[in-house]
Amino acid sequence: MALPLTYNFRNVLVRWRATLATILGIGLVVAVFVLVQALAVGLEKSASNTGDPRNIMIVRKGSTAESTSMVSLAQLQIIRYWEQIARNEAGVPLVSADVITLISQPRIDGRGEANVSVRGLTPVGMALRPQVKLISGRWFTPGKREVAVSQKMARRFAGFHVGDSFRTAGNTLTVVGEFDGSNSAFDSEVWMDADETRSLFDRQNYSSLLVRAASPQAGQEIVSRIEADKRLPLLAGPEVKYYGDQTATAMPIKILGNFLATAMSIGAVFAAMNTMYASVGSRTREIGTLRVLGFRRRTILAGFIIEGALLAAIGGVVGCLLALPLHGVSTGTMSFNSFSETVFEFRITPWLAAKGMIFAVVVGIIGSLLPAIRASRLPVITALKSV
């Protein structure tokens, strides 16, 4: 038979002053744990919001990012009129030949400069990415040195708001519109006219092709046709998969986060252990009394483990509350894939908060294990005689 939970709960609460440091410590660890995971979730979410299942992405074989990929004009001409590619009402094949280039731009907070991806594309390219919506100003006019900037980038870089202009490659570009990429990878981009980009940055070739397959079957045929064609040293695959693979960017964050959380949780385990040892120490006679009344060793053991878990759970709640204000806040980092600024949001999902709580409780249980064993091993008479 177990001791009533209220007994454990009140014991944690009654010692709140003594345990406050431990609760905050565990809270901090949980907050870091949750936030790092929230970043990874945000990155994954960004990738999953990017691809359209009907689109096929084509890049140079061996390229690790769109910005280092290359598709020549000749290659584009081979592919463009394949019957497997869908066409719009006007009969134009839905092929977007994009040019990706990096520009260096000063950050708004004065913390130096960072690379920003510029995508040169055509109206067809925009039609293939319907999740990108104009929210202020207008789209760029082909033939003019105009750009549209993602709102999230506009908030992070200087000279990126509608009406602003900035210099790059010896020319002045004017921002005429801001768009929202619906938490996709396009939130990290600046868009302008494809031909304008090629002339401005002196590019003969394109970086990538995005095509709309006429049917899922046609999509597979495009992939195998490119694979089979000796003239095309290209790699084709579903756009969804392409961006999904880019989430590899989230891996270092996850690994770093897990390393941080592991290192910090060792500290938290010791904090919990210390608190629980103190609790056992100050309650030795109470333990003796319970034993005299007939409570078994294992009941005492379970009681102290439950108390450690409760203590840590309170810390877990504190940690989640500390992390919560950052939910939906966007942040950016240099992506090691594209070598440019990638923005994404902290996304604290209920499952993530639950994982944080589980993490806290595990820390509490591990931390209270040794103190609880000590408490339960005390001979009744020794416990009773302690002051």
Binding site: P4, E286, L290, V292, F295, V380
Partner: protein, 225 residues
């Protein structure tokens, strides 16, 4: 004469502290009849607590027998002893030993949590026990909201709530003023008279011992009369 409730034969308890051996109890033989209120007296260090702890199944002797209601408690293992204590002995401590975070009623209920009683049955028994010690109106109070005498009466309620045949008390008035001591002793006396409990009380206060039906003295681990 009826079979004694406690039958002690040649009970010895040795403590070895390094080289030196302390004889806490030296071949004690003692019978305690059912319904007795035995006052166990003697100077400090004479072995009173040790004897009480062995009778109550809290400590073990080095040798000898201790039968309580025919059961040799020295032969029971840890968990058997725990159950046996819960069902057969009520323990009252000098320092009350109430759980500070639990109310009077919750403290009294503790030993009942180990029984098969339903919640309502437990509530009823707790109420009765608190009424016996005259503290029904303090059921919801925490120990720190009670006076020392009241705390000890709650402890008495906790000792009698499982209706054990034997109640043991180790200097129950040692931490109380004379008025509170009087109340506690009267409560113990009433338990013997009204409920027929057997009570063993350790004390070195002759006035407290006078509440008992019999007084025995320990001196350096030996009974001295």
């Amino acid at each position: 004469m009826a079979e004694p409730i406690v039958k002690i034969r040649e009970l010895t308890k040795l403590y070895s502290q390094g080289e030196i051996q302390v004889t806490a109890l030296d071949r004690i033989t003692l019978d305690i009849a059912a319904g007795e209120f035995l006052a166990l007296m003697g100077p400090s260090g004479s072995g009173k607590s040790t004897l009480l702890h062995i009778i109550a199944g809290v400590d073990r002797p080095t040798s000898g027998q201790c039968l309580v209601q025919g059961v040799d408690v020295t032969k029971l293992n840890e968990s058997q002893l725990a159950d046996w204590r819960n069902q057969n002995v009520g323990f009252i401590f000098q320092t009350f030993n109430l759980i500070p975070v639990l109310t009077a009623a919750e403290n009294v209920e503790l030993p009942l949590l180990l029984t098969r009683l339903s919640r309502t049955q437990r509530r009823k028994q707790v109420e009765t026990a608190l009424e016996v010690v005259g503290l029904a109106d303090r059921a919801k109070h925490l120990p720190r909201q009670l006076s020392g005498g009241q705390e000890q009466r709650v402890a008495i309620a906790r000792a009698l709530v499982t209706d054990p045949a034997l109640i043991v008390a180790d200097e129950p008035t040692g931490n109380l003023d004379s008025h509170s001591a009087q109340e506690v002793l009267s409560a113990l006396q009433a338990l013997r008279k009204d409920a027929g409990k057997t009570i063993i009380m350790v004390t070195h206060d002759p006035k407290a011992a006078a509440f008992g039906t019999r007084q025995i003295h320990l001196e350096k681990g030996e009974l001295s009369q």
